[in-house]
Symmetry: C2
Subunit: 194 residues, 2 copies
Amino acid sequence: MTKPDDSKPEETTPAPPAADVENQRGGGGGGGVSNILQRWRREGFLKRCSLTFRAFGFLFSLLAFLIMATNKHGDWREFDKYEEYRYVLAIAILSTLYTGLQIWRQIHEFYTTKEIISRQNAAIVDFIGDQVVAYLLLSAASAAVPLTNSMRQGADNIFTDSSASAISMEFFAFFSLGLSALISGYKLSNQTYI
Amino acid sequence: MTKPDDSKPEETTPAPPAADVENQRGGGGGGGVSNILQRWRREGFLKRCSLTFRAFGFLFSLLAFLIMATNKHGDWREFDKYEEYRYVLAIAILSTLYTGLQIWRQIHEFYTTKEIISRQNAAIVDFIGDQVVAYLLLSAASAAVPLTNSMRQGADNIFTDSSASAISMEFFAFFSLGLSALISGYKLSNQTYI
């Protein structure tokens, strides 16, 4: 998805109209147009960044979900006997759905140029969503760490290893969504004045 | 990526009027001053808000620290026998120190009008500090919940009650610092253009 992102601004930024506008304005207000251009470039860059972070978030959440959901090895080694692991699974599913929907929306808006949510609302939804999902991922991963630690002191088998890797994936997903929340927070607070 | 394409003509056309307004302002000067005044008022309001949230963060962290540190009732009912509770205590101390220092700095700057850290750096330090401490508080509180839950299923005594209240205080501190991080993130992203 980064390829089209990359190529499109390159096609549009050296657009003659922008230069024409600058010429029409003469020496008076060249700064305004170049500021706007700079803004566009920055916005494009931020969009690519947030898409990338969300894609990573999606990947890691999906991995956490799959690893945890298949973590059933009979006897006490079943993830659904422990509420910590059920929490990890629930948040992994939520995060997978959230990031998947966000990526779908971003790609859909890219190809159809139609906005599913208005820009103002999108900024708020993006920021709250990213931040809350990041908090939830961190909370679920943190909650499951002590249980896994104490299990591994007793026995180190495929069950504990899978749990540990699902938790790690959830931590990575947290980092990705935390970074995405940074970007959407930046977008949100800069959008209110425009 | 389609948005820049779409908005390009829209944003360029109202650009000259904006410049005109700016020129008019240069003559009259009324709009600029009222904008600046508005900004000041907003900044003052944000400062009070962030001070309030940090004060609550300090209060709740201190409470979590005190409740957990005094949570020693002999036998298995000692907080330092459980790494989850030690984590809660450590993060409570860290958060108390951080919020205490921030409050001291804000009050000091208010009364002496001298800046301890330069404004640019302060915005970054504030935001990273608030956000990281909020994440740590949430992580510590989440990690300690399952242990406390499973203990309370067996026995409900002063030890488990104190643990539960320390964890609750840590959650409240997390909410306060999360809100404070919102404000400092807003400040940070609006400061880079001024």
